[in-house]
């Protein structure tokens, strides 16, 4: 069973977790979690994401962090998009991650539920996401939250030439 870096069991830490909008001072910890999971540190990318998604009092765009013992242990980013791909307004989940040291403690669930509540406040009744089919860990997480295959099919192609 996974434990937090402070040695506390996830179940014990669960009650002490707060989910709130990200602050600029959280960014280094968010970048560190992303780098630990993906293996790539993306300083510039995250500063752009923060500028775009951290808008106080805004329900359309959300950049939330989960905090335990003053430490950022996870984040989620989402946005309400109107009439994209011919679809009525819906909430898109663009990124979600939890510090690998404190997984299996319900932190991802708390983050997603808070984001979903925010989407409901913005008036949407559908939440979507998209991820690589090889990413079975996060796919399983979204499935466990009740997500199913949606009505959209992603398509792509390689662009040949110089």
């Amino acid at each position: 069973m996974a434990k937090s870096s402070s040695g506390r069991k996830p179940e014990a830490a669960r009650d002490a977790i707060a989910v709130r909008p990200a602050k600029r001072t959280d960014l280094d910890q968010v970048i560190a979690i992303d780098a630990a999971v993906t293996g790539i540190e993306k300083q510039d990318y995250w500063r752009t994401v923060f500028r775009r998604y951290s808008v106080p009092g805004e329900h359309q765009r959300q950049f939330l962090v989960a905090v335990a013992e003053r430490r950022v242990v996870g984040y989620v980013i989402g946005e309400v998009r109107d009439w994209e791909f011919g679809s009525p307004p819906c909430g898109w989940v663009f990124a979600i991650n939890v510090d690998p040291q404190v997984r299996l403690a319900g932190i991802g669930t708390r983050l997603l539920q808070t984001l979903a509540a925010s989407f409901r406040c913005a008036g949407v009744r559908k939440m979507r996401t998209m991820l690589a089919r090889e990413n079975t860990l996060i796919l399983s997480f979204f499935r466990s939250q009740g997500m199913m295959a949606g009505s959209l099919i992603p398509l792509e192609m390689d662009l040949e030439g110089p």
Partner: protein
Amino acid sequence: MRLQTNTSLALFSVLEFARDPTRHIPASEIAEKYSVSPHHLAKVLSELARAGIVESVRGVGGGYRFAANPKRVTLMDVIQLFEDLGPTVTERNEGKEVAAVERALAAVLSEIDELARATFSSITLSTMLRLVERQQGAPASPHQDKAT
């Protein structure tokens, strides 16, 4: 996608066991519930036991019980015990044009297979049990109406 009888039976059985991991369920109870021969079911349960998903319990009140972690075992873990998940089109090398058609068809079928694999690999038994509960609470779908 159509699953073979043994695969469906294995999934039904595993979900029965995972619903209450402490309970020993006699094979005859499952055979009766799903109207299959106990002999046929025994082969399926034996395969599941070999994979460590269930374990046999001897003696009075014996049978099988769940032996894995329902949050870790996926539908794919069960399905791959009973299904051949290899390529669906075999090249016959009957000339260039036929081979090209076969490769194009294989590419399309492999797209479908990969989606099916990703779906089965992302659904754990815990998630599946929640889906079953939701279906039990949901009104019958039009398809179910037709069937009944």
